[in-house]
Symmetry: C2
Protein backbone atom coordinates (compact mmCIF):
# COMPACT_ATOMS: atom_id res chain seq x y z
CA UNK A 1 0.00 0.00 0.00
CA UNK A 2 1.13 3.53 -0.59
CA UNK A 3 2.97 5.20 2.22
CA UNK A 4 0.51 7.57 3.77
CA UNK A 5 2.29 10.90 4.19
CA UNK A 6 3.20 11.50 7.81
CA UNK A 7 1.58 14.88 7.75
CA UNK A 8 1.37 16.81 10.95
CA UNK A 9 -1.95 18.53 11.37
CA UNK A 10 -1.68 21.55 13.69
CA UNK A 11 -4.29 21.57 16.38
CA UNK A 12 -5.49 24.99 15.31
CA UNK A 13 -6.20 23.48 11.92
CA UNK A 14 -8.13 20.60 13.45
CA UNK A 15 -10.40 23.06 15.22
CA UNK A 16 -11.08 24.84 11.95
CA UNK A 17 -11.73 21.58 10.12
CA UNK A 18 -14.58 20.99 12.55
CA UNK A 19 -16.00 24.36 11.62
CA UNK A 20 -15.72 23.61 7.92
CA UNK A 21 -17.53 20.36 8.49
CA UNK A 22 -20.46 22.12 10.05
CA UNK A 23 -20.63 24.70 7.28
CA UNK A 24 -20.59 21.88 4.75
CA UNK A 25 -23.52 20.22 6.51
CA UNK A 26 -25.48 23.41 6.07
CA UNK A 27 -24.56 23.63 2.40
CA UNK A 28 -25.57 20.02 1.85
CA UNK A 29 -28.93 20.72 3.44
CA UNK A 30 -29.27 23.62 1.04
CA UNK A 31 -28.75 21.29 -1.88
CA UNK A 32 -25.35 22.59 -2.91
CA UNK A 33 -23.04 20.09 -4.55
CA UNK A 34 -19.82 22.05 -4.80
CA UNK A 35 -18.13 25.01 -3.13
CA UNK A 36 -15.13 27.20 -3.75
CA UNK A 37 -12.56 27.89 -1.09
CA UNK A 38 -13.59 31.53 -1.08
CA UNK A 39 -17.20 30.80 -0.35
CA UNK A 40 -16.42 28.21 2.28
CA UNK A 41 -13.90 30.50 3.92
CA UNK A 42 -16.38 33.33 4.03
CA UNK A 43 -18.98 31.18 5.71
CA UNK A 44 -16.46 29.86 8.20
CA UNK A 45 -15.01 33.27 8.90
CA UNK A 46 -11.45 32.56 7.83
CA UNK A 47 -9.00 33.49 5.11
CA UNK A 48 -9.44 31.56 1.82
CA UNK A 49 -5.73 30.83 1.54
CA UNK A 50 -5.67 29.54 5.07
CA UNK A 51 -8.60 27.31 4.36
CA UNK A 52 -6.86 25.76 1.37
CA UNK A 53 -3.78 25.27 3.49
CA UNK A 54 -5.86 23.55 6.15
CA UNK A 55 -7.42 21.22 3.64
CA UNK A 56 -4.10 20.49 2.00
CA UNK A 57 -3.06 18.63 5.15
CA UNK A 58 -5.57 15.98 4.15
CA UNK A 59 -4.07 15.61 0.71
CA UNK A 60 -5.68 16.92 -2.48
CA UNK A 61 -9.41 16.94 -1.99
CA UNK A 62 -10.60 19.54 -4.46
CA UNK A 63 -10.75 19.90 -8.20
CA UNK A 64 -8.80 22.77 -9.71
CA UNK A 65 -10.92 25.18 -11.65
CA UNK A 66 -14.07 23.87 -10.02
CA UNK A 67 -13.85 23.78 -6.24
CA UNK A 68 -14.63 21.19 -3.64
CA UNK A 69 -17.33 18.54 -3.76
CA UNK A 70 -19.58 19.18 -0.80
CA UNK A 71 -20.34 15.52 -0.27
CA UNK A 72 -16.78 14.37 -0.89
CA UNK A 73 -15.15 16.93 1.36
CA UNK A 74 -17.69 16.28 4.04
CA UNK A 75 -16.93 12.60 3.98
CA UNK A 76 -13.20 13.19 4.08
CA UNK A 77 -13.45 15.60 6.99
CA UNK A 78 -15.72 13.28 8.91
CA UNK A 79 -13.23 10.49 8.43
CA UNK A 80 -10.24 12.57 9.51
CA UNK A 81 -11.98 14.01 12.54
CA UNK A 82 -13.00 10.59 13.69
CA UNK A 83 -16.70 11.22 13.52
CA UNK A 84 -17.70 8.13 11.60
CA UNK A 85 -18.32 6.08 14.65
CA UNK A 86 -20.28 7.36 17.59
CA UNK A 87 -18.04 8.22 20.50
CA UNK A 88 -19.29 7.49 23.98
CA UNK A 89 -18.84 10.30 26.50
CA UNK A 90 -19.44 10.59 30.19
CA UNK A 91 -20.48 13.83 31.82
CA UNK A 92 -19.70 14.52 35.45
CA UNK A 93 -21.51 17.30 37.28
CA UNK A 94 -25.12 17.70 36.31
CA UNK A 95 -25.68 21.27 37.38
CA UNK A 96 -27.14 23.90 35.10
CA UNK A 97 -24.27 23.80 32.67
CA UNK A 98 -24.05 20.02 32.72
CA UNK A 99 -27.76 19.73 32.03
CA UNK A 100 -27.46 22.14 29.15
CA UNK A 101 -24.68 20.09 27.62
CA UNK A 102 -26.44 16.77 28.18
CA UNK A 103 -29.42 18.11 26.34
CA UNK A 104 -27.54 19.86 23.55
CA UNK A 105 -28.68 18.40 20.27
CA UNK A 106 -25.56 19.67 18.55
CA UNK A 107 -23.50 16.93 20.13
CA UNK A 108 -25.60 13.91 19.26
CA UNK A 109 -25.87 15.00 15.65
CA UNK A 110 -22.10 15.09 15.39
CA UNK A 111 -21.39 11.63 16.65
CA UNK A 112 -21.10 12.28 20.36
CA UNK A 113 -23.29 10.29 22.65
CA UNK A 114 -23.49 10.84 26.36
CA UNK A 115 -23.65 7.37 27.76
CA UNK A 116 -23.34 8.29 31.37
CA UNK A 117 -24.39 11.25 33.48
CA UNK A 118 -22.95 11.43 36.98
CA UNK A 119 -23.55 13.69 39.94
CA UNK A 120 -22.88 13.62 43.64
CA UNK A 121 -26.00 15.51 44.73
CA UNK A 122 -28.59 13.00 45.97
CA UNK A 123 -31.35 15.32 44.79
CA UNK A 124 -30.06 15.15 41.23
CA UNK A 125 -29.25 11.45 41.17
CA UNK A 126 -32.12 9.45 39.80
CA UNK A 127 -33.63 12.27 37.80
CA UNK A 128 -33.55 12.23 34.02
CA UNK A 129 -31.73 14.82 31.92
CA UNK A 130 -31.99 14.74 28.18
CA UNK A 131 -33.58 11.32 28.39
CA UNK A 132 -30.76 9.80 30.41
CA UNK A 133 -30.76 8.87 34.08
CA UNK A 134 -28.29 10.55 36.41
CA UNK A 135 -26.09 8.09 38.27
CA UNK A 136 -24.39 8.62 41.62
CA UNK A 137 -20.79 9.74 41.40
CA UNK A 138 -19.65 6.53 43.08
CA UNK A 139 -20.51 4.61 39.94
CA UNK A 140 -18.08 6.61 37.79
CA UNK A 141 -15.61 3.79 37.34
CA UNK A 142 -18.36 1.26 36.68
CA UNK A 143 -20.04 3.45 34.07
CA UNK A 144 -16.78 4.12 32.24
CA UNK A 145 -15.90 0.45 32.27
CA UNK A 146 -19.32 -0.64 31.09
CA UNK A 147 -19.65 1.90 28.29
CA UNK A 148 -16.02 2.02 27.20
CA UNK A 149 -16.14 5.80 27.18
CA UNK A 150 -12.87 7.48 26.25
CA UNK A 151 -14.09 11.07 26.49
CA UNK A 152 -15.08 12.75 29.72
CA UNK A 153 -16.66 16.15 30.30
CA UNK A 154 -16.23 17.83 33.67
CA UNK A 155 -18.78 20.41 34.75
CA UNK A 156 -18.32 20.08 38.47
CA UNK A 157 -17.35 22.81 40.93
CA UNK A 158 -13.67 23.64 40.82
CA UNK A 159 -12.93 22.03 44.18
CA UNK A 160 -13.68 18.49 43.07
CA UNK A 161 -12.60 18.76 39.43
CA UNK A 162 -9.11 17.37 39.98
CA UNK A 163 -10.44 14.40 41.93
CA UNK A 164 -13.00 13.66 39.26
CA UNK A 165 -10.31 14.02 36.61
CA UNK A 166 -8.03 11.57 38.39
CA UNK A 167 -10.81 9.02 38.66
CA UNK A 168 -11.73 9.42 35.01
CA UNK A 169 -8.15 8.89 33.93
CA UNK A 170 -7.74 5.91 36.22
CA UNK A 171 -10.89 4.43 34.72
CA UNK A 172 -9.47 4.72 31.23
CA UNK A 173 -10.68 8.06 29.89
CA UNK A 174 -8.03 9.59 27.65
CA UNK A 175 -9.63 12.87 26.57
CA UNK A 176 -11.18 15.41 28.91
CA UNK A 177 -13.14 18.58 28.31
CA UNK A 178 -12.92 20.71 31.42
CA UNK A 179 -15.35 23.50 32.24
CA UNK A 180 -14.22 23.86 35.84
CA UNK A 181 -12.04 26.91 36.41
CA UNK A 182 -8.91 25.08 37.45
CA UNK A 183 -5.82 23.83 35.67
CA UNK A 184 -6.05 20.07 35.73
CA UNK A 185 -2.97 17.91 36.14
CA UNK A 186 -2.99 14.76 34.04
CA UNK A 187 -0.40 12.12 33.15
CA UNK A 188 1.21 12.15 29.72
CA UNK A 189 -0.98 10.62 27.06
CA UNK A 190 -4.14 12.24 28.31
CA UNK A 191 -5.50 15.28 26.50
CA UNK A 192 -7.35 18.03 28.27
CA UNK A 193 -9.11 20.98 26.71
CA UNK A 194 -10.35 23.76 28.91
CA UNK A 195 -13.27 26.07 28.37
CA UNK A 196 -13.37 28.96 30.78
CA UNK A 197 -16.51 31.01 30.41
CA UNK A 198 -15.70 33.78 32.83
CA UNK A 199 -12.34 34.32 31.20
CA UNK A 200 -14.11 34.92 27.92
CA UNK A 201 -16.29 37.57 29.52
CA UNK A 202 -13.37 39.15 31.24
CA UNK A 203 -11.46 39.52 27.99
CA UNK A 204 -14.48 41.26 26.53
CA UNK A 205 -14.61 43.58 29.52
CA UNK A 206 -10.97 44.43 28.95
CA UNK A 207 -11.56 45.26 25.30
CA UNK A 208 -14.59 47.26 26.33
CA UNK A 209 -12.52 49.28 28.75
CA UNK A 210 -9.87 49.85 26.11
CA UNK A 211 -12.40 51.35 23.80
CA UNK A 212 -13.73 53.62 26.50
CA UNK A 213 -10.35 55.28 26.33
CA UNK A 214 -9.81 55.32 30.06
CA UNK A 215 -6.53 53.52 29.55
CA UNK A 216 -4.07 53.88 26.66
CA UNK A 217 -3.26 50.20 26.60
CA UNK A 218 -4.35 48.61 23.38
CA UNK A 219 -4.74 44.88 22.95
CA UNK A 220 -3.07 43.25 20.02
CA UNK A 221 -5.50 41.25 17.98
CA UNK A 222 -5.44 37.53 17.64
CA UNK A 223 -7.15 36.61 14.44
CA UNK A 224 -8.08 33.09 15.42
CA UNK A 225 -9.88 34.16 18.56
CA UNK A 226 -12.07 36.73 16.97
CA UNK A 227 -14.76 36.99 14.42
CA UNK A 228 -13.73 38.43 11.10
CA UNK A 229 -14.59 42.03 10.43
CA UNK A 230 -15.69 41.98 6.87
Amino acid sequence: MSESRPRIVPEATVARLAVYLRVLAGLADGGRSSVSSGELASAAGVNPAGLRKDLSYLGPCGVRGVGYSVAGLRERLTEVLGGERSRPCVLVGIGRLGSALADYAGFASRGFEFVGLLDSDPRTVGTEVGGLPVHPAEELEAVVARTGATIGVITTPAEVAQTVCDRLVAAGVRSILNFAPVALTVPAGVDVRKVDLSVELQVLAFLDQQRDGSAPVVAALRADAREPVR
Copy 2:
Protein backbone atom coordinates in the same frame (compact mmCIF):
# COMPACT_ATOMS: atom_id res chain seq x y z
CA MET B 1 2.61 63.47 34.55
CA SER B 2 4.82 60.64 33.51
CA GLU B 3 4.25 59.19 30.10
CA SER B 4 2.39 55.95 30.61
CA ARG B 5 4.17 53.37 28.48
CA PRO B 6 2.18 52.60 25.37
CA ARG B 7 2.41 48.91 26.08
CA ILE B 8 0.55 46.56 23.86
CA VAL B 9 -1.00 43.71 25.77
CA PRO B 10 -1.50 40.64 23.56
CA GLU B 11 -4.96 39.21 23.80
CA ALA B 12 -3.59 35.82 24.77
CA THR B 13 -1.97 37.51 27.73
CA VAL B 14 -5.22 39.20 28.72
CA ALA B 15 -6.91 35.81 28.86
CA ARG B 16 -4.20 34.50 31.13
CA LEU B 17 -4.35 37.56 33.37
CA ALA B 18 -7.95 36.65 34.06
CA VAL B 19 -6.81 33.19 35.11
CA TYR B 20 -4.14 34.62 37.40
CA LEU B 21 -6.74 36.84 38.97
CA ARG B 22 -8.88 33.88 39.88
CA VAL B 23 -5.96 31.95 41.32
CA LEU B 24 -5.06 34.99 43.39
CA ALA B 25 -8.58 35.12 44.77
CA GLY B 26 -8.16 31.55 45.96
CA LEU B 27 -4.81 32.33 47.54
CA ALA B 28 -6.24 35.36 49.31
CA ASP B 29 -9.04 33.23 50.71
CA GLY B 30 -6.37 30.86 51.95
CA GLY B 31 -4.71 33.66 53.86
CA ARG B 32 -1.61 33.92 51.71
CA SER B 33 -0.02 37.34 51.46
CA SER B 34 2.65 36.76 48.83
CA VAL B 35 3.40 34.36 45.98
CA SER B 36 6.29 33.57 43.73
CA SER B 37 5.95 33.41 39.99
CA GLY B 38 6.68 29.70 40.07
CA GLU B 39 3.88 28.93 42.46
CA LEU B 40 1.38 31.12 40.68
CA ALA B 41 2.35 29.66 37.32
CA SER B 42 1.94 26.14 38.62
CA ALA B 43 -1.54 26.88 39.89
CA ALA B 44 -2.50 28.59 36.64
CA GLY B 45 -0.98 25.88 34.49
CA VAL B 46 1.54 28.02 32.61
CA ASN B 47 5.27 28.53 32.33
CA PRO B 48 6.78 30.69 35.10
CA ALA B 49 8.75 32.80 32.65
CA GLY B 50 5.65 33.37 30.59
CA LEU B 51 3.76 34.45 33.63
CA ARG B 52 6.42 37.01 34.50
CA LYS B 53 6.35 38.29 30.96
CA ASP B 54 2.58 38.59 31.12
CA LEU B 55 2.75 40.58 34.33
CA SER B 56 5.55 42.74 33.00
CA TYR B 57 3.10 44.28 30.53
CA LEU B 58 1.49 45.97 33.52
CA GLY B 59 4.78 47.42 34.65
CA PRO B 60 6.77 46.17 37.64
CA CYS B 61 4.36 44.73 40.15
CA GLY B 62 6.49 42.34 42.14
CA VAL B 63 9.39 42.61 44.54
CA ARG B 64 12.63 40.96 43.53
CA GLY B 65 13.82 38.32 45.89
CA VAL B 66 10.39 38.08 47.49
CA GLY B 67 7.62 37.60 44.97
CA TYR B 68 4.30 39.24 44.36
CA SER B 69 1.95 40.69 46.94
CA VAL B 70 -1.29 38.78 46.63
CA ALA B 71 -3.43 41.77 47.53
CA GLY B 72 -1.43 44.21 45.45
CA LEU B 73 -1.31 42.08 42.35
CA ARG B 74 -4.96 41.28 42.67
CA GLU B 75 -5.82 44.95 42.81
CA ARG B 76 -3.65 45.75 39.82
CA LEU B 77 -5.11 42.95 37.72
CA THR B 78 -8.65 43.90 38.64
CA GLU B 79 -7.92 47.44 37.57
CA VAL B 80 -6.35 46.46 34.27
CA LEU B 81 -9.06 43.99 33.39
CA GLY B 82 -11.74 46.54 34.03
CA GLY B 83 -13.38 44.62 36.81
CA GLU B 84 -13.68 47.39 39.34
CA ARG B 85 -17.02 48.53 38.15
CA SER B 86 -19.87 46.18 37.46
CA ARG B 87 -20.49 45.71 33.79
CA PRO B 88 -24.05 45.30 32.58
CA CYS B 89 -24.64 42.43 30.16
CA VAL B 90 -27.63 41.30 28.18
CA LEU B 91 -28.22 37.67 27.36
CA VAL B 92 -30.25 36.67 24.32
CA GLY B 93 -31.60 33.16 24.01
CA ILE B 94 -32.74 31.64 27.27
CA GLY B 95 -32.55 27.97 26.39
CA ARG B 96 -30.70 25.45 28.48
CA LEU B 97 -27.32 27.02 27.89
CA GLY B 98 -28.63 30.55 28.36
CA SER B 99 -30.28 29.57 31.62
CA ALA B 100 -27.08 28.00 32.83
CA LEU B 101 -25.13 31.17 32.09
CA ALA B 102 -27.76 33.46 33.62
CA ASP B 103 -27.54 31.47 36.80
CA TYR B 104 -23.79 31.03 36.88
CA ALA B 105 -22.52 32.51 40.11
CA GLY B 106 -19.04 32.82 38.68
CA PHE B 107 -20.07 35.80 36.59
CA ALA B 108 -21.70 37.93 39.23
CA SER B 109 -18.77 37.48 41.58
CA ARG B 110 -16.44 38.82 38.92
CA GLY B 111 -18.24 42.02 38.18
CA PHE B 112 -20.60 40.89 35.47
CA GLU B 113 -24.26 41.52 35.97
CA PHE B 114 -26.93 40.26 33.65
CA VAL B 115 -29.34 43.15 33.46
CA GLY B 116 -31.52 41.78 30.73
CA LEU B 117 -32.60 38.32 29.64
CA LEU B 118 -34.34 38.04 26.29
CA ASP B 119 -36.05 35.24 24.43
CA SER B 120 -38.48 34.89 21.58
CA ASP B 121 -40.34 31.85 22.90
CA PRO B 122 -43.62 32.98 24.49
CA ARG B 123 -43.43 30.08 26.89
CA THR B 124 -40.11 31.32 28.24
CA VAL B 125 -40.96 35.01 28.30
CA GLY B 126 -42.29 36.02 31.69
CA THR B 127 -40.59 33.27 33.60
CA GLU B 128 -37.75 33.99 35.96
CA VAL B 129 -34.23 32.65 35.52
CA GLY B 130 -31.61 33.28 38.13
CA GLY B 131 -33.88 35.80 39.77
CA LEU B 132 -34.38 37.86 36.63
CA PRO B 133 -37.47 38.07 34.44
CA VAL B 134 -37.21 37.02 30.79
CA HIS B 135 -38.27 39.74 28.40
CA PRO B 136 -39.62 39.28 24.87
CA ALA B 137 -37.05 39.62 22.13
CA GLU B 138 -38.80 42.67 20.75
CA GLU B 139 -37.66 44.66 23.74
CA LEU B 140 -33.98 44.07 22.98
CA GLU B 141 -33.28 47.64 21.90
CA ALA B 142 -35.24 49.07 24.81
CA VAL B 143 -33.45 46.92 27.35
CA VAL B 144 -30.03 47.81 25.99
CA ALA B 145 -30.88 51.50 25.96
CA ARG B 146 -32.32 51.45 29.46
CA THR B 147 -29.50 49.50 31.04
CA GLY B 148 -26.62 50.90 29.02
CA ALA B 149 -25.31 47.41 28.48
CA THR B 150 -22.17 47.21 26.35
CA ILE B 151 -21.71 43.46 26.50
CA GLY B 152 -24.05 40.99 24.85
CA VAL B 153 -24.12 37.21 25.08
CA ILE B 154 -25.77 35.22 22.30
CA THR B 155 -27.05 31.73 23.08
CA THR B 156 -29.71 31.53 20.38
CA PRO B 157 -29.99 28.96 17.62
CA ALA B 158 -27.56 29.57 14.78
CA GLU B 159 -30.23 30.70 12.34
CA VAL B 160 -31.10 33.87 14.23
CA ALA B 161 -27.70 34.66 15.72
CA GLN B 162 -26.68 37.10 12.99
CA THR B 163 -29.94 39.00 13.24
CA VAL B 164 -29.66 39.22 17.00
CA CYS B 165 -26.06 40.33 16.63
CA ASP B 166 -27.01 43.10 14.21
CA ARG B 167 -29.67 44.36 16.55
CA LEU B 168 -27.34 44.30 19.52
CA VAL B 169 -24.72 46.28 17.63
CA ALA B 170 -27.28 48.77 16.37
CA ALA B 171 -28.47 49.24 19.93
CA GLY B 172 -24.98 50.10 21.07
CA VAL B 173 -23.45 46.84 22.26
CA ARG B 174 -19.74 46.80 21.46
CA SER B 175 -18.63 43.42 22.80
CA ILE B 176 -20.30 40.12 22.01
CA LEU B 177 -19.79 36.61 23.31
CA ASN B 178 -21.19 34.19 20.77
CA PHE B 179 -22.14 30.61 21.57
CA ALA B 180 -24.06 30.04 18.35
CA PRO B 181 -22.15 27.94 15.83
CA VAL B 182 -21.87 30.59 13.14
CA ALA B 183 -19.28 33.18 12.18
CA LEU B 184 -20.82 36.52 12.98
CA THR B 185 -20.19 39.53 10.80
CA VAL B 186 -19.79 42.78 12.69
CA PRO B 187 -18.63 46.28 11.80
CA ALA B 188 -15.18 47.45 12.80
CA GLY B 189 -14.98 48.54 16.40
CA VAL B 190 -17.08 45.69 17.67
CA ASP B 191 -15.40 42.74 19.33
CA VAL B 192 -16.75 39.23 19.09
CA ARG B 193 -15.48 36.18 20.90
CA LYS B 194 -16.77 32.80 19.93
CA VAL B 195 -17.15 29.70 22.05
CA ASP B 196 -17.94 26.59 20.06
CA LEU B 197 -18.64 23.64 22.29
CA SER B 198 -18.97 20.98 19.64
CA VAL B 199 -15.69 22.01 18.08
CA GLU B 200 -14.01 21.39 21.40
CA LEU B 201 -15.45 17.91 21.55
CA GLN B 202 -14.52 17.22 17.97
CA VAL B 203 -10.91 18.15 18.57
CA LEU B 204 -10.87 15.71 21.46
CA ALA B 205 -12.33 13.03 19.21
CA PHE B 206 -9.56 13.68 16.71
CA LEU B 207 -6.87 13.35 19.35
CA ASP B 208 -8.60 10.23 20.60
CA GLN B 209 -8.49 8.72 17.15
CA GLN B 210 -4.85 9.63 16.75
CA ARG B 211 -3.99 7.74 19.88
CA ASP B 212 -5.92 4.71 18.77
CA GLY B 213 -3.30 4.45 16.08
CA SER B 214 -5.75 3.93 13.26
CA ALA B 215 -4.24 6.89 11.45
CA PRO B 216 -0.59 7.97 11.43
CA VAL B 217 -1.43 11.65 11.49
CA VAL B 218 -0.24 13.29 14.64
CA ALA B 219 -1.44 16.67 15.78
CA ALA B 220 1.10 19.26 16.68
CA LEU B 221 0.52 20.60 20.12
CA ARG B 222 -0.57 24.08 20.89
CA ALA B 223 0.51 24.84 24.39
CA ASP B 224 -2.09 27.50 25.05
CA ALA B 225 -5.00 25.25 24.21
CA ARG B 226 -4.06 22.38 26.43
CA GLU B 227 -3.57 21.63 30.03
CA PRO B 228 0.02 21.27 31.14
CA VAL B 229 1.31 17.76 31.61
CA ARG B 230 3.36 18.01 34.70
